[in-house]
């Protein structure tokens, strides 16, 4: 039985409910969905003793305002770490919000996505093929707007003796999104079809995240690389797949991206590194580093 917990006052630059996505539906054309920065989303839930795949709010940049409808314990991680308790207790923390109190997501110093979780097992929301991740482009659900009421468990309200309203993440787990590491890249299925010069140009130059990026894909700007003149019968892709269309500018498939693609794939960003890319802002530089492991095609 779920109860109203919070009301969306302002949807700012956009937000959605996300868990860790769905498995088993790509064969029907349904992308996995799920939190783009799963590292931050998992920590928001862990702070509250929730399952790590409990539904959280994924908030783009700033401007979102929420009003508590009852006393609730929440946790905030990701790009805007000081939303609730600036200067007290450290970033990536929990806090107790009183009824009628408002939370506004302030502009983060770095990163794009902020995660807000609620205690008691997370937000209650309809699931589409087993995940709360909405997918308006595919006809699954609608974007959240002002007046939307977020529901959850009565256990979101802290008991008097509950310790979870005063927790924060160990600083070693908190990421500085302004300084991502070089992103590790596995060779893709068409790696060998790219010329030696194209591969060198791909891995030697710093790329900039394009402003034409969203939950379906992040485009990279830089010096175009020669792409193999080849039309593939569409192949399945994974989040992190790096496709190079004929214009030579790479597109990284993200979690709402198409399930199949027909462009040559030079590589795959390691699943552990993809959350770093997700938090890179348009214009931010990223470096890519080839993994020369047992998976390298001989």
């Amino acid at each position: 039985m779920s109860v109203p917990l919070m009301e969306l006052v302002d949807h700012g630059l956009g937000l959605s409910l996300q868990d860790l996505g769905r498995r088993g539906w790509k064969r029907f054309g349904v992308p996995p969905g799920g939190a783009l920065d799963d590292h931050a989303a998992r920590w928001a839930n862990r702070l509250l003793d929730n399952p790590t795949n409990a539904p959280v709010l994924e908030i783009l940049m700033h401007g979102v305002t929420l009003r508590a409808l009852r006393r609730v314990t929440v946790a905030v991680t990701g790009a805007a770490p000081h939303v609730l308790k600036a200067g007290r207790g450290g970033p990536w923390h929990t806090a107790v919000i009183e009824p009628h109190q408002e939370i506004t997501i302030t502009p983060p110093q770095s990163g794009l996505w902020t995660y807000l979780a609620v205690a008691g097992g997370g937000f209650a929301a309809p699931r589409w093929f087993g995940s709360v991740s909405i997918f308006p482009r595919g006809g699954l659900g609608e974007s959240l707007g002002p007046g939307f009421v977020l529901a959850g468990s009565e256990a979101a309200t802290p008991r008097p003796d509950s310790p979870i309203g005063e927790r924060w993440v160990d600083p070693s787990e908190i990421r500085n999104y302004a300084r991502p590491p070089a992103l590790r890249v596995w060779p893709g299925p068409q790696f060998d079809l790219f010329s030696t010069a194209a591969r060198a140009a791909f891995f030697e130059q710093p790329w900039r995240v394009s402003s034409r990026s969203d939950r379906t894909g992040y485009r990279l700007d830089g010096a175009p690389i020669p792409s193999p003149a080849l039309t593939l019968p569409s192949e399945p892709v994974l989040p992190g797949s790096i496709q190079v269309p004929p214009d030579g500018l790479p597109i990284v498939t993200m979690r709402d991206g198409p399930t199949v693609g027909g462009y040559s794939k030079i590589g795959l960003i390691d699943p552990e590194a993809l959350a770093w890319l997700a938090q890179c802002r348009p214009g931010q530089q990223v470096r890519l580093e080839l993994i020369l492991g047992p998976s390298h095609p001989e």
Partner: protein, 223 residues
């Protein structure tokens, strides 16, 4: 060797099973998929077909050696049939009034009426669901109607649009950006969102392997 299996990142294998454009690609892919479903390697989490490929995703740390899987699948591969009969035929009503009909006709050097007649006369198969939830890639399009995708995709294609992209025809299940040539629309619901909520695969009107026929209906019937 008829199949080739390569790692795709740390947790997945890509199985390439048929030379490009092979007519038996669908039957072979389906047979491999069914074999893997009946005899799943330890840790197999998801199978996603492409036209001539299968993507196998494994729980982290469990991916098998591709050489081992090549032996296993290679043995299964030798006995399979190169055709598979459809289990059912779907009849899809279409109002042929798409904005790209004149362009498709001009490229084919046919009249719009001839394009409609050819498209509605075809026997199609669902070769793949992909791109968007429930979007069917239908094979069997008359060669004369093969039309390249638009150079600049539309930012919004209406729900139910019947379209041609290259050698395939398909139907947009929901309003989305898209680069295929729009030739008509169907009033049918392609994805049942109620069944999507209960995670039922029957949510999708089209299933891989279905035979499909289009039936032209007059414009008034849509209102």
């Amino acid at each position: 060797m008829d199949i080739r299996i390569d790692p795709f990142g740390p947790d997945a294998l890509l199985v390439r099973h048929t030379p490009q454009g092979h007519e038996a690609a669908f039957a072979r892919g389906l047979a491999l998929q069914r074999h893997l479903e009946q005899h799943p390697p330890v840790g197999l989490a998801e199978i996603t077909p492409g036209f001539t490929t299968l993507l196998l995703e494994f729980t982290p740390g469990t991916r098998p050696d591709p050489r081992w899987l090549s032996v296993v699948l290679g043995a299964a591969f030798r006995g399979i049939k190169s055709t598979v009969a459809p289990e059912r035929t779907l009849e899809i009503p279409v109002i042929y009034d798409g904005p790209d009909l004149p362009a498709v006709a001009a490229k084919a050097r046919l009249s719009v009426r001839e394009v409609i007649a050819l498209h509605a006369a075809g026997n199609y198969r669902v070769a793949l669901l992909g791109f968007a939830p429930g979007f069917p890639y239908l094979s069997g399009l008359d060669r004369r109607l093969h039309t390249p995708r638009l150079e600049t995709p539309r930012t919004s294609v209406p729900t139910g649009s019947v379209a041609i992209g290259g050698e395939h025809t398909g139907i947009y299940p929901a309003a989305t950006a898209g680069g295929w040539n729009l030739i008509g629309r169907t009033p049918l619901n392609i994805v049942d969102t109620t069944l999507a909520r209960s995670a039922d695969p029957k949510a999708f009107l089209f299933q891989p392997g279905d035979a499909v026929r289009f039936v032209a209906i007059p414009q008034e019937a849509s209102t």
